[in-house]
Amino acid sequence: MTDQPQGIVHGVVEDLELPPEPPPHGPKIWIQENLLGGDTPTARVLNGLLSVIFGLIALNILQYVTSYIFEPSRRWSAVTFNMKLMMVQAFPQADLFRIWVSVGIFFVLVSFSLVVWGGGGGRLSMFSLAKGIRNIGVLFMIVAIMHGAPETWNLVSLPLFTIDSPTAWSLARVVFFLLGLALFAAGFLYLRASGDAAKEQSVPVLSLLVAGMVIITTAIWLIKLPVPEGQFGETTASIARTTTGPWTILFAVAIGSYFLARVLVRVFDPALIKRILLFLWVFSYPIIIMVIQRKPVLLWGDILGGGPTVWWESGLGLFVLFSLIGGAVIWWLALSTDVTVGRVIAIAMGAVLAIGTWLVVNASNDWEDIIRDGVPESAALPLWVAIVAALAGIALIAAGLLIPDGIEIARVIGLIMGVVALLVWFVPMLFVVRFLLITFALTAIAAPSFGGSTQARVRVVAVWIALVFLVVVTFVLGEAETALEFQSTTFLGGFNFSILLAITGLVLSFPLGVVLALARTSTMPIFRLLATGYIELIRSVPMITWLFFGAVMLPVFLPDGITFDEIVRVIGIVAIFNAAYVAENVRGGLQSIGKGQYEAASAMGLSTVQSTALIVLPQAIRAVLPALVGSIIVSFKDTSLVAIIGLADVLFIAKSFVPGQTSPHNFLGTQPQMLFFIALFYWVFTFSFSRMALRYEKSIGLGEH
């Protein structure tokens, strides 16, 4: 027994073992494995057959596509000539720099973000890069060969369009082939020479991006594209300076701001730059649309008061009034521990509300007529609203007298303000005031939850003032006439409009979607029922139906005197529609959060509102960000539907405008190729965006915990 060891000490293995040598590889083995693989001879033969059939199908399709593109009778000049039309539609030539500035702002923001949020897409191994170059080379060569292939090579000859098959090797074809050969040789030789070392080496994706920009810049200066000549003719010409110049500058700006950002990050606090950048991301977009592109005519009389506008209806007046009065009320609501003051304020507000509405109603209605003839139809609604508002005022007085606790008075005031704000929506008044009242009500309801120390109260009031500023500025800019001169109903059109629709629709839908998701997961059955009903109704009916609703029927539901531009209506509908989908995404995120988080939050004494805003939503939204990024793609694709209701987005222009042109150039009959182009256009955007989204998804997947 005693000679048995009591335990064995293994020690720690110092040297890690190397993995076994990878199996040999080479083109022959690759073909054996990937094209002729199989356990049995029959399987191998079958697999080979499959390879041949699918290879032929692929080649056939490739031949069709290349023949279609390069056929001499194609008139790609329809695309080049109308490029500006498709991008911005009727945007005036003289103000075109506004578009370039918009793109420039976007580029600068992207460059800065790449630096600040790090990475810049990580690194790409030389191995996959060389492989990619090699494969592209092969593709180029195949295209060059197939393009001229005789028609007898076709597996199936579809009578879709005649294939012109020049057997001669034109110069372009030879150049294309040689380019492919060069790429192939470069990739192949590199892989051959470096062997396994290629897998170790890598290049930053960012420098590839820069290289790409340089190549594109060079290309657009050198390349010649087809342009129309006369009614039906076509010739080739360099790209206009008005296009190449701005793009060159934009690329330079992008690269320059990248290096500027790298310097700035060293000099200043990165956290500060991050915050500024986030702010700019949020606000650059409305500024681009409302200020830079729209070129509003600012009437200073309307903004500062004076002239025909009373000072308290001017932008500045409204801002000052609402900031001061609203700010004072919210300052108090945010703490509200002083019960006596609370009561006094509640009673005062109630009195103002009740007596004020009474006076207004009394002044605007002839009571003798009403008593004699009943309520006239036109006055019925405002009258009811006023009565309810007056009752709310009385309720406020009662609350001030009865409720013995400050914070509850604050809550009641917030709620009653909310009810009143919703009710007076239907009373004739300045539209901006309606919005300000709703904003005030929402802030008032939230104030008791997020107030507290002096610091917190200052923050709540600051948020309120910022909101007032935002609402007022939006309205001032929105109501201002545009100084642009264009031949259309709106300055937005083409791709510019598609982008606007996709982004605005999604951004606006986000808050609504979050609220719906919270309601749908709430424990309160009526909220759950309403949210579920909304979401399911929106989702079960196709989007085009909702677009018709927005275009044709929305005006019917609006009270007299309230009208929206068709574009605004469509944006609103897109937002309402997307909200249902955003809600479902967010709901997924909410459900992924463990019960423990809710319990911990409430055990710490956080209220439901606080734990939702501080604990649950931040986590839920982070969890569903990839899905939300995915829904940007869907939203972008869906914008094409507005072509059906006749709005001039990029698809509508390409499909209907361009093929209808007869002078100065005749582009009748170019519809199929315009559609071909537009399909490619959409494809490039959605495909590259979905790839970026995938990369992003992977990066946060690795980053978390």
Partner: protein
Amino acid sequence: MVTPLEPQTGTSEHAKPPFWRNVTVLKWIAQIGFLTFFIWLFYILISQAVSNLEGTGIAFSWDFLAEPLGVLLGEGFNTSPGSGIEALAVGMTNMLRITASGIVAATIVGTIIGVARLSSNWIVSQVANAYIEFFRNIPLLVQIYFWQSLVLTLGELTVEEEGAAWFFATSKGIAIPWLTPRAGRWQYIALLVLGAFVTRWVYKWRVRILEEKGVETHAGSWALGVFATFLIAGWLVHPIMGLFGFLWSALAWVFGNVPVILFQLVFAALAAWLAYRFIKNFLDERRTPAGLAKLTDDDYFRLTVAGILGLAGVAFFLLGPGNATVSRLLGRDLTFSMNWGLEPIFSFLAEKFDFSTGLPLDFSRPEVVVPTRFAQYSPAVGKAFTPAFVSVWIGVTLYTAAFIGEIVRAGIMAVHRGQNEAALAVGLRRGQVLRLVVLPQAFRIVLPPLGSQYLNLAKNTSLGIAVAYAEVVQVGQTIYNQEGQTLAVFIIWMAFYSIVSLVLSGVVNYYNRKMQLVER
């Protein structure tokens, strides 16, 4: 042990808190308040809409459903419908036609693509990959436009081709030979339904024997044989199903002669029963072995609301509005030219089950009646598809197939690893592994996202309006352009699509639940 509560430990607080601090009461006040606001808002909007419509001189009404319309539809079982409801019915059938055939085709193409995507053959998987990346990244509308422009560049339909070809692919559409239903089809279909039930029973019976005796009973072959017998023999003996004609006539008589008040009573009883069921279940859930548990304030609120809703339902159906609704549902007071009551349905069926001995189906080739037109939907001329149908059908099918391909791929990948190895380890061949182990499990994973793709396909058929395919949205738009009844048409759209969605997701959920049961 029991320490009596001291006064300072809070006996004074034992009383119910005031309502403004009672969590339950506050929650319900908030909900009921919001609901009231919501209903009020809804009422305001609707009444605003009604008054606005009156202001434009077109008062809201449903009359257009029954009145003759002067519209021509692109295609459908009746291209010059006599009334609004008929036109909408044509649109709905067209929409369902494309949805049903599209779902089948997209599933087949998508499954092939999904499996090909995972093939070990490099070319096959790359082609599948290219397919997916290509079709799902281009907006469907662009694709539909593109297919339309391609179909329109096909050759002209010429006279020489009349009767000369089996297939036509021209700018006037595509035509193929087809089986045309004949007079005997109703009896034949009924026989096949009966056959399906019998087959199911036979299958279960053979399986039971297999389980009891442990011998191979060839249940599958038996079932196949039985159904084939029905299929073949039914061709000749289907007239015996004419017996059902008596049943249909009897039902038609019943529905034709029962007073409306009976239906009202039935509906009222249903409402009361639902409320009763809810309350009973609710109480049962909270009943404890020791008797009825203490109900919270929340529970009382719920019970009260349920009770009130039940009573409201009963009152609704027994009083005036219920009378009107039931009359409308049964199509009595309104003289729609197409009567949606139950009685006509059964009289119609009774007519069809008349022991007639005609063939159920007939084979026919496409035929060009006028030099440039196919004979569409006439009794025996193959099947012709208009360019609009073809472009929408190809569009939604290929587009949806790309998504289905991804779903199938993900489903197979999810099963793959351990299951695959385990199955290989017990000695199954690769083909068997895929068929017996991987696919059945993948199907379970795939089903829910597949269902949502089917729903998307159904909704996407509405893009047919872009190429003037006469589906329900296009027909609706035609109607409101003529009649101005936008609100009514919109309500019909919503109702129709909601029903389609409900039915589709109902079917998917049913299968899903069945799958889950199998898993247990």
